[in-house]
């Protein structure tokens, strides 16, 4: 493949951004999914809508809103900057953008999985003396593993592919904030850059293929253990 150093740098950055975004959002997404699946409270519909928002808004708007909130002139952005956490024009900002864009996907997958858990099994664990947190860790969590896995894969895939919000929020600086999608887009803007763009897209596809195959294999192993097949 016709891939230069810039493409490899973009791939590496994308991998880093996607992994960090996925790992960081897992706990939060899990928590939100749990609340949406299990709790009834006023404003639940609103929370659910809020979670879906990044799906609905054009990514550039999300990026724009991020810039408004975390830009160098925004109070929040200034605060974080003073704490040494620069987001705008940093790869960490790409993580934030990817995280937000993947959040609805992760929450939905986990929520569906949590909703499918029989609360009577959790009740059984409680009668055996397990406090709520233990029930969650030892019963709920393993039971929703397929959902977590699905959420993780989708979050990772989305993070690998996120473009609009990322480029708007952290710009497209080769070697710094140029993720693989940004690099692909850049290549597409140059006459004759198609092949380079497609080669990089294929690379992204391969990464996704690997992630999906891995997750499918993991899921199959867990399913087998539960069904008792060997």
């Amino acid at each position: 493949m016709d891939l230069d150093a810039a493409a490899w740098a973009a791939l590496m950055l994308s991998l880093r951004v996607a992994s960090v975004a996925m790992l960081c959002s897992l706990p939060l997404a899990l928590w939100v999914a749990w609340i949406l699946a299990r709790k009834e409270f006023p404003g639940k519909g609103l929370l659910s809508a809020l979670v879906h928002l990044p799906l609905v808004l054009p990514p550039v708007v999300t990026g724009y809103l991020l810039l408004l909130s975390f830009g160098r002139n925004a109070p929040l952005g200034r605060l974080l900057e003073s704490l040494g956490i620069g987001l705008a024009f940093h790869w960490t900002g790409a993580v934030l953008a990817a995280l937000i864009m993947g959040f609805p996907l992760m929450v939905r997958a986990m929520r569906l999985a949590i909703e499918a858990v029989d609360p009577r099994i959790e009740a059984a664990a409680a009668t055996l003396g397990a406090p709520r947190v233990s029930v969650f860790c030892r019963v709920t969590l393993p039971l929703i593993f397929p959902g977590i896995l699905a959420g993780a894969v989708m979050g990772f895939a989305k993070a690998m592919g996120e473009f609009g919000a990322t480029i708007t929020f952290v710009a497209n600086i080769p070697g710094q904030t140029q993720t693989l999608p940004s690099a692909i887009w850049t290549a597409l803007q140059v006459p004759g850059g198609e092949n380079r763009a497609l080669a990089m897209a294929a690379l992204a596809g391969l990464v996704a293929l690997a992630a999906v195959l891995l997750s499918e294999a993991l899921a199959r192993r867990v399913a087998k253990r539960i069904s008792g097949a060997r």
Binding site: R120, I121, A123, A124, A125, A126, T127, L128, G129, A130, P131, R132, S134, V135, R138, V139, P142, L143, F145, V222, R225, I226, S227, G228
Partner: protein, 361 residues
């Protein structure tokens, strides 16, 4: 030791009852849909009733009036569910040991190896719950509850899908739990009157969510009012008897308060105390001591109450020197014999009315 007062309404079903136990095994008996599981769930903390109070060993687990509600995991009750509810993602061993780590340090209770041995779980330890047969699941659920070192066992038809021999192995174990150093109290739901007659110390009878009778097993089983609840064919008093002798012909002599009975097939050693179950339908009443029936068991009794049933029969409460008996006779026999409270007469007990399962303790 355990006091329960509950009021709860489902759509079209109202539970409203109050009972208490003194430790030992308390049986909850009632027809399908009577509210047994609902009661147990409320005791376990899985159901928050509209109103109620549950006090165990002086500790208030629930008091809707005072706003007290102890969450299930702090109640330390071992619950054997009607459906097994095993953890599908854990193998049998991990299901069994799930609760161990939450037991207070130093608490005593059933040992892993003992329970595995008793319930025959050794070959299943590495199996996934999904591959177990119905009875196997139930045994694992039983073991899991035993192994969490509870201070009260809640058992919702724990033996329903077990075979006879397995039941015969488990019942003495439950008796030992109750009687042993731990004195583990048990709230036990069962449809099998023979199981209850053998195991229970107290009996709570439910019907349509209401308490119909409660008290010591011997009292409730001998209560004519309980006959329709237990089922005409299952009703009958339970007595305690001392084994006096075993004869060559296989008959044993047992002493009850009002005299002696000769029964076949008693396995208990001489000097031990056993429980006898005398089905009401197997007691025949006679105004005069029957002659020429040398080998049958006859006790002098006094009629305590005559309780006409729904059908053609009547239930007769009898007192036999302090023991209570129950007889079911036809309405015609009531008229012919002119049965009335206070009357002295004789009860002919067919030796073999003693159901095998009901000889225990």
């Amino acid at each position: 030791m355990l006091e329960v007062t509950l009021r709860h309404g489902f759509d079209g079903f109202d539970l409203d009852l109050s009972f208490s136990t003194e430790g030992g095994i308390t049986a909850l008996f009632g027809r399908s849909g009577a509210g047994k599981t609902t009661v147990i769930n409320a005791v376990a903390g899985l159901l928050r009733p509209d109103m109620g109070r549950v006090v165990l060993d002086g500790e208030t687990l629930l008091d809707t009036e005072r706003g007290i509600w102890v969450p299930p995991h702090r109640r330390r009750l071992g619950y054997v569910f009607q459906d097994a509810r095993l953890f599908p993602h854990l193998d049998v061993r991990r299901n069994l040991t799930f609760g161990a780590r939450y037991a207070p340090r130093g608490s005593r209770g059933a040992g892993f190896d003992d329970v595995v041995e008793l319930l025959g779980l050794k070959p299943l330890l590495t199996r996934a719950p999904a591959t177990l047969s119905g009875g196997e699941k139930q045994r694992v659920a039983l073991g899991r509850a035993l192994l969490c070192r509870p201070r009260l066992l809640l058992m919702d038809e724990p033996l329903a899908s077990l075979d006879g021999p397995r039941k015969q192995e488990i019942l003495p174990y439950l008796e030992r739990l109750r009687d042993g150093g731990l004195g583990l109290p048990i709230l036990y739901v069962s449809h099998a009157v023979d199981e209850i007659a053998r195991l229970a110390d107290r009996l709570v009878l439910l019907q349509d969510g209401q308490l119909k009778a409660q008290g010591a097993l011997f009292d409730v089983m001998a209560d004519p009012a309980a006959v329709p609840l237990l089922g005409v064919r299952e009703a009958g008093a339970v007595l305690e008897a001392d084994v006096i002798a075993h004869a060559e012909d296989g008959l044993s002599t047992l002493a009850v308060r009002a005299g002696q009975l000769e029964l076949p097939g008693v396995q208990a050693p001489i000097g031990s105390r056993v429980r006898l179950r005398v089905l009401a339908q197997d007691v025949i009443l006679s105004r005069h001591r029957p002659e020429g029936l040398s080998s049958v068991n006859i006790l002098a009794v006094r009629v305590e109450a005559v309780h006409p049933g729904d059908g053609p029969g009547a239930a007769i409460a009898l007192s036999a020197g302090g023991d209570r008996l129950l007889a079911r006779v036809t309405a015609r026999a009531v008229r012919d014999l002119d049965l009335r409270a206070g009357m002295e007469c004789y009860a002919i007990i067919k030796a073999t009315t003693v159901a095998p399962g009901s000889i225990g303790r």
